[in-house]
Amino acid sequence: MTAETIIQSLASGLLMGLLYGLIAVGLALIFGLMDVVNFAHGEFLMIAMYATFFLFAFFAIDPLLSAPLVAAALFVFGAVVYLLIVRFAVRAKANAGMVQIFSTFGLAIVMRGLAQYFFTPDYRSVTHSWLGGKTVSIGGIFLPVPQLVGALIAIAAFGALYLFINRTDFGRALEATREDAGAVALVGIDKNKVFALGWGLGAALVGLSGAVMAIFFYIYPDVGASFALIAYVTVALGGFGSVFGAFAGGIIVGLVEATTALILPPSLKAVGIYAVYLLVVFIRPRGLFGSM
């Protein structure tokens, strides 16, 4: 193992890690807002990937251009899911935690079933997109262009999210609601509206990452499941509810995955991620940046 291969895999790990962060941040945002873990998060990613695929296949819109469209569509979808399901789940008087887990998990199963029904279980991929399959050499290190652009989009999205939360009225309403949902009602903020918009925003972020993922990853009904667990680990590693934690968690997960792949057989690369998660929470039971 030369120094070059190590740097090479760490660089790809970093890019992938930023994307993991982008996939996970919607989850962190929603959890921070209302203490709900969306167990259909992976399926949100899955439909975003399908949306990108169909826009490409039928209208020849490149994923880079369709990304905002997909994000907007997912925004609406996220808000609708809140209004139709989650709104009632959080009202449950008994077993609130269980109801949240299983109502969103039931949604995940339905979405997978619908994807199988309408899109068939076939593997699909976006071929001949602008970025697909291209690599770029930076100082002797070869980087895949889709992941590189995806990582840049992730950084930009995190930056925009930071400004959005801190500088806009809606962002402040979001922060205020997460602080004390009862008190904001007194100052005339409609809690349900904020929650619905929060779900929309969280879903839009995963929509954005889905559009990027579609450039270089196969698309099939169960694709979400493989990324969902990584997203949960990313969020928990960073600390539930912390948007910055998701960013940092993503980078750590990407780097750890790349490092594990250097040491262990490829089929065991996820073991490194899981082991690091356990190690971190055994030492810090609230994750790295968890505030609770």
Partner: protein, 326 residues
């Protein structure tokens, strides 16, 4: 002591005995192998969910990683039998003891975690187990283990000709899991567990040994689930990592209890009796085309029940009892 409570417990026991006796006679009338198969699965999942309910329902430590213990039970039995010729009965016991020990070893660091951190830790640990079995060549790796047919006997726990012995064993397993729950419900442990679930800090300050309560619940729960896994291996004759340790098994164990009524005596069995036949029937009638309709029905049902009856379906039967148990 409290006679109303003692009476209701005695009534539970009598109802259980009557139901078990009725269940035992059902195969005398129902000869259809397909239906018998569903009955075996229903009893098995009922027993598994009942065992899961001890840790996650009564003690409140939600585990979505119980597939690990199920898999260890299945693998211990299958490996001991195929590699060393050890009878499945010993494998069953061995798998249970190993699982209980592993549950305590894992519980030692994990029970410090709360809420979602704990849930994700259980998922992640089971996934590590899955990946390790995937790469463990001696245990068949991804190819799995086929259990060779060695005749038709209770000694070897193999019955190629009839589902009935499996049915009766599954029935016994379900009764044992139910009885253990019934018995523990009114023991010192049962009270400790509910106290730990409701408010660990308050429980601790009142002298409940919170940590050991969780360890005890984990051990009992893992032991029973492993016995179920061991039974499953003997029932299907073939196991591979995905088919006994996959994440879906952890969920399948949790679902009947959640739908029937988590942390209740009758919830898991009620949930299994509704859920498992429904799953199997939708799978064979609308799922055969591989087009996902079974998933849509199944998932829709989970959403509907969890939103409409958050306390579980058991509340429909005896609302008073539910209140009394709180």
């Amino acid at each position: 002591m409290d006679t109303a409570f003692a009476r209701s417990r005695r009534r539970d026991l009598i109802v259980a005995l009557v139901l078990a006796a009725i269940a035992a006679t059902v195969p005398l009338f129902v000869k259809d192998v397909y239906v018998q198969n569903i009955m075996v699965l229903t009893l098995m999942w009922g027993a598994l969910s009942q065992s899961w309910n001890i840790l996650s329902g009564y003690c409140g430590q939600i585990s979505l990683g119980h597939a690990l213990y199920f898999g260890i039970g299945a693998y211990t039995t299958a490996l001991l039998f195929t590699k060393f010729g050890v009878l499945p009965w010993f494998g069953m016991l061995g798998g249970g003891v190993i699982s209980a020990l592993i549950a305590m070893a894992l519980g030692y660091p994990c029970f410090r975690l709360r809420g979602h951190y704990f849930v994700i830790a259980t998922i992640v640990i089971a996934e590590i187990g899955l990946l390790l079995f995937h790469n463990w060549d001696w245990a068949g790796a991804a190819m799995g283990i086929e259990i060779p047919a060695r005749g038709d006997s209770w000694l070897k726990f193999q019955f190629p000709r009839s589902k009935l012995p499996y049915f009766y064993f599954a029935l016994v397993l379900a009764c044992v899991a139910w009885f253990v729950t019934w018995w523990l419900e009114n023991s010192k442990w049962g009270y400790w567990w509910r106290a730990v679930k409701d408010n660990p800090e308050a429980a601790e300050s009142l002298g409940v040994d919170v940590f050991n309560s969780k360890m005890g619940a984990a051990a009992v729960s893992a032991f029973l689930v492993a016995v179920g896994g061991s039974f499953y291996a003997q029932f299907v004759y073939f196991i591979d990592p995905e088919s006994v340790m996959g994440f879906q098994f952890s969920l399948l164990m949790a679902l009947p209890a959640v739908l029937g009524g988590i942390g209740t005596l009758w919830g898991p069995m009620l949930g299994a009796v509704i859920l498992i036949p429904l799953t199997e029937l939708t799978r064979s009638y609308v799922g055969g085309s591989g087009r996902g309709v079974d998933l849509i029905v199944y998932g829709g049902l989970i959403i509907a029940i969890s939103l409409a009856r958050p306390q579980g379906l058991i509340g429909l039967f005896s609302p008073k009892r539910k209140e009394a148990a709180r």
